[in-house]
Amino acid sequence: MSVQTPVSSDHQLARLLQIGVVLEEVVEARAAKHAKELEDIDDDIRGLLTEAAEESADHRERIEALVEGLDAETIPFGEIQTLVEQRYESDQDFDGVLYDQLCNEETAYKFYDDLIEAIEASEAEFSIDRSVLLDELASIREEEETGVEEVTTLMEERE
C-alpha cells in the first residue's frame, strides 16, 4: 500500500479511462434496461432514458478513442451489459428509475472531475496530447453536468 500519484504513466491513465468506459457502459445498459422494463412509462422519462443511453454510447466511443491512442484496450459493451443484466433489480418504480439516472449522471460527473484534477496535478508526459485529453474530458464532464440538471428538473416537476 502506498500514497501515490494516481496518474503518472500511460498505463495508469489508460486504466482510469477504461474505468470511465465501464461507467458509461453501466449507464447505457441500465438506462436502456429501465426504458425496456417499464412498459407504462411516460414519454418524458422514456425520452430522458433513451437520450441518456445514446449520450453514454457517444461518451464511451470518445473515451475509447483516447484509450486506443494509449495502445490499450477497453472492455466490450456486451460484457458489461451481461454483468448489469445479472445484477439488475427490476422492481424499481418511476422515482427509483429517475433517482438511479441521477446517480448515473452525478457519478460520471464526479469521476471526470476527479480524473481531470488528477491529470492536471500530474507532471507525467503521455502518448496522447495532454490538451486534447483534457479538452475531451472537460467537454464530457460538461455534458454530464447538463444531464444532472435535466434529471433534477424532471424530478422537481414531479414533486
Partner: protein, 143 residues
Amino acid sequence: MNTANQYLKAIYLVQEIEDGPASTGAVAEMLDVSPASANEMIGKLENDGLCNHEKYKGVDLTDDGIVRARDALQNYCIIERFLVEVLEVDDFRTEAQQLEPVIDETVAERLDTIIDRQPQCPDCFDADDDVCALLELEADAAD
C-alpha cells in the same frame, strides 16, 4: 483525492494486525511514506477527532475514525474486486492502491453494481494478504 482516508484505512488494518494501537512506524511502512509524513497526517486526523495518538503507545481510531476507515476499506475492496472480476488485472493490489485516491465512494458504488461483493464486506478483508479473503483468484496467480 483523499489521502486522509488512505491513512485511516492503514491505521485500521495495522490495528487489526497488531490487535491494539497501531505504531506510526507500521502505518508509515504500510503506506510507503516517511515516519515524519505519517506523524504529520496522524496529528491532523487527531485534530479532526478521528484518532487518538499516544507517544510510545501508538494510534487508536475513534468511533468516527473507525466508520470512515471501514468505508474507505469497503471502497478499496470494490476497486480490487472490480479490477479482478471485470478488468482481469493480475497486479490488482498495486493498481488498486494507485486508483484509490481518484475513485471516490460515488464512483465505487456504481462499480459495485456489476461485481459480486459479499454482504459481510469489509469484515472479510485479509489485512496480511491485502485482499478480500473471499475473492477467488485464478490459481492465486497474483501472489
